[in-house]
């Protein structure tokens, strides 16, 4: 029974990774850059929700929506101010800017909200679902996280496959020049991608802090790195890849914690990543990129 419980917890943690990984993978797919500030947008989202609920006593749902709005605007602002001027710069310059942006957000949060941990009260409620005469207990947060993750994946796949914005995104991902000449505003498309990714980051932040209730300015950084790992694991640029990578990473992490060693769990997670990349360098669902010589 504990196996089942670990599995469900793993899927739940993995769902959070998957939601974050989607932000990485979509931005990478379209803007061809690694947005390392993504993890810190998560933290901002969690803070916004925290203050909305505790300070202004708003209902949790309103807090989550507010966090999404703030993060969407923040994501678009970051893209506009920090990344857009570097659109044609070497990718290393963009990468370093992204890391800088990450530190900027963390330190701003420290100034604004101090580095004292805040206790985040779950937006879902603290109850648990008891199954098999109470032998298996699954918290509501776990269930809600998994459901939300699946809903988000379905929604994103629909947008990308079936709407004109999705087609514009896929077109930009392949060839920005040609897309532009077909009348597509590439800047709007990239901005839209950042908006979606950041709104998802807000959701992830709230879910993460609902499950692990300590909120600090550095809260987003490790999950951010792990989600990035998940995106690479699944094949960066691929939406189903981010989903699969996230879930697998979460499950591996929880199993490693439960059966091997709590201290070594992160090491094991990253070891698996290295193993996968050695065997399949493009990630589980990634496509090989053929460069013409």
């Amino acid at each position: 029974m504990s196996f089942l419980s670990y599995l469900i917890n793993g899927i739940s943690l993995g769902s959070i990774y998957a939601i974050i990984a989607l932000g990485y993978t979509m931005v990478y797919g379209i803007a061809k850059m690694l947005n390392f500030a993504h993890g810190d947008v998560i933290m901002v989202g969690a803070y916004v929700c925290f203050f909305a609920v505790t300070r202004f006593s708003l209902p949790p749902v309103v807090g989550v929506l507010l966090a999404m709005v703030v993060c969407t605007l923040l994501g678009m602002l970051i893209e506009r101010l920090a990344y857009k001027p570097l659109r044609s710069a070497p990718s290393l310059a963009v990468l370093i800017t992204a890391i800088g942006m990450s530190y900027f957000l963390q330190n701003s949060a420290q100034l604004l909200w101090t580095s004292n941990p805040k206790v985040f009260s779950s937006v879902v409620g603290n109850g648990a679902l008891k199954l098999f005469d109470g032998q298996l207990s699954i918290s509501y947060v776990t269930i809600v996280t998994i459901i939300i993750c699946f809903a988000i994946i379905a929604l994103l796949l629909f947008i990308v496959q079936n709407t004109k914005m999705g087609k514009a995104m896929r077109a930009c991902s392949e060839d920005k020049g040609a897309a532009m000449l077909m009348g597509i505003n590439v800047n709007t498309t990239i901005s839209f991608t950042f908006a979606i990714g950041s709104a998802l980051a807000a959701i992830a932040g709230v879910l993460l802090c609902s499950a692990y209730p300590t909120l600090m300015p550095t809260t987003g950084s490790l999950p951010g790195i792990k989600a990035f790992t998940a995106a690479v694991f699944g094949g960066i640029g691929s939406i189903p890849g981010a989903f699969l990578g996230g879930i697998l990473l979460g499950v591996i992490e929880i199993f490693a914690k439960a059966y091997i060693s709590t201290q070594l769990s992160d090491a094991i997670v990253f070891a698996v990543l290295i193993l996968v990349l050695v065997i399949k360098p493009t990630g589980l669902l990634g496509h090989e990129i053929h460069e013409k010589v």
Partner: protein, 284 residues
Amino acid sequence: MTKTNMVPVPSLGIIPERDVNRMPILDIHHLGIDFGGLHAVEDFNLVIGRTEIAGLIGPNGAGKTTVFNLLTNVYTPSRGVILLDGVDIRGKKTWQLNEMGIARTFQNIRLFNKLTVEDNVKVGLHNICRYSTLEGVLRLPRYWKMEKEAHEKAMELLSIFDMQHMANYVAGSLPYGAQRRLEIVRALATNPKLLLLDEPAAGMNPSETAELMQNIRKIRDDFQIAIMLIEHDMNLVMGICEGIAVLNYGKIIAKGTPDQIKADPVVIEAYLGRQGEESLHAEG
């Protein structure tokens, strides 16, 4: 084919007689661009009638594709004025120019290879298909209506080249000739007034080229648009172009009807070298 009667217009160009009383689709004055110290295109003047099939020819490296890139503002001109349908296009973004009526294909095919044939065409329909992403997500009636229209429109456009049955194929898997045709369809989907074709017959065999010629003419007749093409295949150029401009080292060295161009000693020299020279250094 019946010969088009070409008439001179005040700006020293020639356009088909039928287009004379209408605003020319393209009116270019003193266009130029420098790359470093090199005048890649210099003092380029051209008028194209509303339903004209115009040709831009010249040896390799003459600056033909550069002209296309200037017309679509992929490069910003260093000098000169481009009037598209009477409107100065200076400062417009590439995607805005597409909305204003310029569409193009590429010398080396640039389809969205991972998208299906139909989706490639639908990318072209992007600005015509009007609904917000929110309406798409909520699948409101307008989404269904617009997507249905887009599907029908895409199929109709694909039928020009008899490609409806390929709609669900991935574009990258199509044979070469079909990819070239799909590029034209995708460009047409953006509802252009002026279609720029960059070497549409490159890599085609003579029978494919002959079919392409018919199709280019058919597109002009059906859509009543102007078509400007860069091409090295002289049978195609002389067969369908009504007005031809010859470019060499970034400058127009001759303008005229196919018959005039064929007989022009300056053009012959540019292509074949000076008369009396032993070797013919023909290019392209």
